[in-house]
Symmetry: none
DNA sequence: CCATGGCGTTCAGGTGAATGTCAGGTCAGG
DNA sequence: CCTGACCTGACATTCACCTGAACGCCATGG
């Protein structure tokens, strides 16, 4: 697993890095947010460990921005003791987990494994939807073995349908999924992305249920 | 979101239950592991809140067993303060998250949202009406596995009957349900939609009680 | 520094399915 | 047979949705 560590404290950073390496993962250690941003663009990480208190800006804004840009890389927040409000804000900004300093290094390992299990993990990495093969962990779609590139937003939307193959999802639900609670969208963005997905994946990839929402196109009957 | 709470402490359990309800989720509260196991078999949950210290056995074994059986329902562990080793063991046993007692109720909400964002869970529970299978969450109806598409209004009407299977609903009640108070309807709209439902679901899907209203029939029994 | 291109978002115009209304027919009960 | 309640096919209108195009932001590369 490729892990990006963003932490300015040299002592803690080294300890964390060594622990990660000992667990058999690879790690890039950045001490500033701009370095981290550059690293993220340069390489794809499976996990980001993000300190919220950094010298050159608030880690929370960084996280929000990444999520707004459609980045869905798992993020574990490292935060100081007893800053519950920060931790809640972190989770609401799109973090997947947090650790309170000072934390047990073995606990860190367990957390990393837990996050890793969610994504690259459990049963069947390949899901078949109609004539498409969907790799949820790698966030990619194949048709007849050929990759069908999606943008971040398109993927976020499509993922919602794949995760609940039979569900009918209202526009409100989809908006809530693509955008955080506070940021309310006031247009037909969802419609536009539905259209773009159909253009890429086929007109019947997503079915409109007028007045109620959308649903995955018939991938096969229930049960 | 359907949540299963497994917690033997009555005070904490009630507080958690109320918070979950306030967040708009539905919750089943079990005090013992055998009850919880039975509940899991009976219904599909989107999330399990699991206390590790229960009178009738170790919650950790319960969790391991569920995971070994292929159950991938997200689990958040509730554990006592300073039992770091337990928490690690929990994450390694397949838990997705944990909360340390005593925890902030708002933090609980944030955690639930975070988990809910990741997975959106399991197939929805089905209600059987005559020869129809009704998925209330997905707003869809199946007959012999085949979906029977309804329009928004048709669904709203049918839902009223399914939610109260034995009730006799007057036209006034149905109008009040389909339309907001101010918007007064001055025609036989309800009759028309009853007819449309019968055409789609079968003539005896809804039974007329002359002068009083309508009630759910046994759709399909006489096709 | 500006040019470029990809991506996310917004807007306006057009379309058709869904809706509500009506008129005439049918049925049950007195 | 009469009356009121209910059924049903047809139809105009509406409104939810689709879609092409344009705008702005940001990152990248001269």
């Amino acid at each position: 697993m490729r892990i990006l560590l963003v932490e300015d404290d040299p002592v803690l950073g080294m300890a964390v890095r060594d622990q990660i390496l000992a667990d058999g993962h690879s790690v890039d250690w950045m001490k500033r947010l701009d370095e981290a941003a550059a690293a993220i663009h340069a390489a794809a990480y499976d996990l980001v460990l993000l300190d919220l208190m950094l010298p050159d800006g608030r880690g929370l804004d960084f996280l929000k921005k990444r999520r707004a840009a459609g980045d869905v890389t798992p993020v574990i927040i490292l935060t100081a003791r007893d800053q519950i409000s920060d931790r809640i804000a972190g989770l609401n900004s799109g973090a997947d987990d947090y650790l309170v300093k000072p934390f047990d290094l073995f606990e860190l390992s367990a957390r990393i494994r837990a996050v890793g299990r969610r994504y690259s993990g459990n049963p069947n990495p390949l899901v078949t939807v109609g004539d498409l093969e969907v790799d949820l962990a790698a966030r990619s779609i194949y048709r007849a073995g050929k990759p069908m590139p999606l943008t971040a937003r398109e993927w976020a939307l499509f993922e919602a349908f794949v995760q609940r193959p039979n569900a009918l999802l209202s526009k409100a639900q989809l908006e809530e999924r693509l955008y955080s609670f506070d940021a309310l969208i006031e247009s037909n963005t969802i419609e536009v992305y539905i259209a773009r997905l159909r253009k890429k994946l086929g007109a019947d990839a997503i079915e409109t249920v007028r007045g109620m929402g959308y649903r995955l196109g018939a991938p096969g009957s229930r049960e």
